[in-house]
């Protein structure tokens, strides 16, 4: 049973300072930030809509458009970069037929890049949903993607 926007806001004691955390929770629930949800946050917290919108667009973690069932995060941190992460993300784009930050039309995958997931010793790293995959090279991309329906 997903928690409602009101419940999430209540969990943080309607603390305006916890806006980022509130949006994180909404995003976890819906996989993106629906407009109606943001409107509700505005009225429940009593903050200007412009502030909620600016925070929702400033931070990389938030998306205002629906995302796929599986969110692929290719790490482009420095350690992954020197071990060839650029080739990995290019292979993903080729396989999926979308560019980074986009979602496949069937809503199966969303392809994102992140700056560091903190597994630098195992680069290149790919995170799919909550699962970590280390030492991914371009030839491992297709079999990896196939595992996610």
């Amino acid at each position: 049973m997903p928690s409602s926007i009101a419940e999430i806001v209540k969990k943080y004691d309607r603390d305006k300072g916890q806006l980022v955390s509130i949006l994180q929770d909404i995003q976890t629930e819906h996989h993106y930030l629906p407009k109606e949800a943001l409107d509700e946050v505005v009225s429940l917290l009593g903050v200007p809509a412009s502030q909620v919108y600016s925070v929702a667009t400033f931070f990389k973690a938030f998306s205002l458009t629906p995302r796929g069932r599986h969110v692929i995060k290719v790490c482009l941190g420095t350690a992954c970069h020197v071990r060839g992460a650029a080739k990995v993300v290019e292979k993903m784009e080729l396989d999926l037929g979308i560019k980074r930050t986009e979602t496949t039309p069937d809503l199966r995958y969303t392809l994102e890049t992140v700056n560091c997931v903190g597994c630098c010793a195992l680069g290149p790293m790919v995170m799919i949903d909550e699962k970590y995959h280390g030492q991914i090279t371009s030839d491992k991309v297709s079999p990896l993607l196939a595992k996610y329906e």
Binding site: V47, F58, A61, G77, V82, L94, G118, C120, L122, S138
Partner: protein, 630 residues
């Protein structure tokens, strides 16, 4: 003046209301533990998750149950011991046998052989790739033997989700000592005397920062922990927060007491789910034991701690941007004419320190300022955790005393460059750091020496590059990163970095002009002079150091349209080395544009240059290195 012996204190089950009760609790915890009882300690840090350590841990539990050994063997998930390259990592106590690259299939054998029969499985021991020697104990492995692990050592010894484990190894005794024996001013003096400098990058003396926050006017003051480790390539804060969260909390409570603060925040990256979970759990546990919250340890001191998650913005590691984000606003930095120690979060005096800085505090309080300042160099005291990553053999998290030679880190602990390639440079200090070439490998690593050679300490990422790394591409990578992360407030940072990208892209595309290098240097000077925060001020460092030490690579791209490292796509071609190719055809199917044609077994495949998109799949897949990049 010996006191009359009092009745022995009983170990409390709930709140701990005095230092005596804390000691009683610790004694009870230690007494419950049988030091001779075998314990399988497996790393369940984020790094090892990629090796399936959660399943391995479960497999151990199942095997132990199956063999009816539940009562005679403990199985414990621990924090990260640092040697991520070799995961999954496990240590068997009390012998201290260290197994690496453990896979789920190895579980029954480990239980049958090592636990039941006491035999060591040599296949799972660490073997030095150069000397071929096997090592049985973790401490003897060259990766570990050269380190000094003051902060990281406990990671592999305790279950980070158990406050009892932390108390059992002496946890919160520094807090008890401080609250009952040391005045706040003296705590600050101790920190000053220790010479501890901020581990988040700036290297500002911690004691002075505390002093100015204490001296600042205002009833409400904040203490903040910066765990927004946005620096790509660094993961020491994640590892400490995941592996030993209570040590950070203990440091923060001591800091709050010294500063006179009763409210604090842990600002932590959303990208570190396990660290978020562990620190939240640690706060709850500490509260329930009376070590956090109201009337801590019965001292009358109270301190409340909240967790706030970041949204993935690099600039939020900057103190004023972080505080703006804590207020629920966009993370834009402001000018610091007025320091955050006077007007920070909600315009109140605020003291922000990095995770690693906080974790040092309990050690300084227990072992003393002189002990701490005895480690390190003249100007940089104590140890520093580095993430040693990139093209080095032993990647992972290391902790060394300040002042260790860079060469000893890369070639001693790191075991040199992978695949016998040639070392090119180490990049330190994160995106705004710099590259250090071979000629400076003998510097003693501390805050000032790194700055002297054009780089910086930053949060402690060390990315090793080899002959296959293109320095112009690396400069482009960092500028691109910073350009994306620039909040856009200052023009030189917003527009200057964009312009730099254009110039660097021209160079890597082979369209560079002779005057481009000078233009980059001029842009760099403007960025440094006219940006508000450190992000903009230091953004040109990667460009400047690569020009300083690797000018020849820039010139090869500009004048000869050649990428010496074989990285920049428009300047390279892939080809098949006919003498090496046995025609196995392994590369044919994976090629996304069907540019490779299979001829016959024992005949080299043919690569069609017209169709090749230079994706590198064939290069990665070929075990015989029959694909060349020119």
């Amino acid at each position: 003046m010996a006191a009359k012996p009092k009745p022995k204190e009983k170990a409390p089950t709930g709140r701990v209301n005095s230092p005596k009760q804390l000691e009683a609790l610790r004694a009870a915890i230690v007494a419950r533990k049988n030091p001779k009882k075998p314990c399988i300690a497996l790393c369940v840090g984020t790094g090892c998750l990629a090796y399936g350590c959660v399943d391995i841990l479960q497999a151990f539990k199942n095997e132990i149950t199956k063999q009816k050994l539940e009562n005679s063997v403990d199985v414990r998930g621990t924090g990260c011991p640092g040697f991520c390259e070799r995961g999954a990592l496990l240590t068997i106590y009390p012998q201290g046998v260290f197994y690496q690259r453990v896979r789920i299939e190895d579980v029954p054998e480990i239980v049958n052989e090592t636990i039941v029969k006491g035999r060591v499985i040599s296949r799972l021991l660490y073997q030095d790739p150069n000397t071929k020697q096997h090592y049985e104990k973790e401490a003897d492995v060259p990766f570990y033997s050269r380190q000094m692990r003051l902060l990281l050592d406990a990671n592999s010894k305790i279950d980070p989700t158990s406050i009892e484990d932390y108390i059992g190894i002496g946890g919160y005794s520094a807090l008890a000592k401080v609250l009952f024996q040391i005045k706040p001013e003296q705590v600050i003096d101790k920190v000053k005397k220790s010479g501890l400098r901020g581990r988040g990058g700036g290297g500002f003396p911690t004691g002075n920062k505390w002093q100015s926050t204490r001296d600042a006017e205002g009833d409400i003051k904040y203490v903040i922990c910066n765990c927004d480790e946005g620096d790509p390539g660094a993961f020491m804060d994640r590892s400490l927060m995941e592996g030993n969260p209570h040590s950070v909390l203990e440091g923060m409570i001591i800091g709050a007491y010294a500063i006179g603060s009763h409210e604090g925040y842990v600002y932590i990256r959303h990208e570190y789910p396990m660290a978020v979970e562990n620190v939240m759990m640690a706060i709850k546990q500490a509260e329930s034991k009376g070590l956090l919250g109201t009337n801590i340890l019965g001292s009358g001191f109270h301190f409340k701690l909240k967790v706030s998650r970041g949204g993935g913005a690099f600039v939020c590691g900057e103190s004023t941007a972080l505080m703006a984000s804590l207020e629920g606003k966009v993370g834009e930095p402001r000018a610091k004419y007025v320091h955050t120690s006077e007007k920070g979060l909600y315009n109140r005096p605020s003291n922000l320190n990095n995770v690693e800085t906080w974790a040092n505090i309990p050690h300084i309080m227990l072992k003393g300022a002189d002990w701490f300042s005895g480690i390190g160099t003249m100007t940089s005291k104590g140890t520093k955790i580095f993430s040693l990553v990139g093209k080095v053999n032993n990647t992972g998290l290391i902790e060394v005393p300040m002042g260790m030679k860079l060469r000893d880190i890369v070639f001693g602990i790191g075991g040199g460059i992978r695949d016998g390639k040639k070392f090119k440079a180490v990049q330190t200090g994160g995106p705004s750091g710099g590259f250090i070439p071979e000629s400076h490998l003998d510097i003693a690593v501390d805050f000032d020496e790194l700055t002297r050679v054009g780089s910086m300490m930053g949060s402690g990422a060390m990315i090793v590059t080899d002959e296959n790394t293109c320095m112009v591409d690396m400069a482009k990578y960092f500028v691109n990163f910073l350009q994306e992360e620039s909040c856009g407030k200052c023009l030189p940072c917003r527009e200057g970095l964009k312009r730099m990208i254009q110039i660097l892209t021209d160079i890597t595309d082979g369209k560079g002009r002779d005057e481009d290098i000078e233009l980059l240097e001029r842009l760099a000077a403007t960025l440094k002079d006219a940006s508000l925060c450190a992000l903009g001020q230091t953004a040109a460092n990667p460009v400047l150091t690569t020009i300083r030490y690797f000018r020849d690579e820039y010139e090869a791209h500009i004048k000869e349209h050649r990428c010496p490292a074989g990285v920049c796509k428009p300047l390279i071609t892939y080809s098949i080395i006919n003498e090496k190719c046995p025609g196995c055809g392994k590369c044919v199917e994976p090629c996304p544009t069907k540019a490779i044609t299979f001829v016959a077994k024992k005949q080299p495949v043919i690569l069609d240059q017209e169709k090749c998109i230079k994706c590198g799949t064939c290069y990665d897949i070929c075990n015989l290195k029959a694909v060349a990049i020119k």
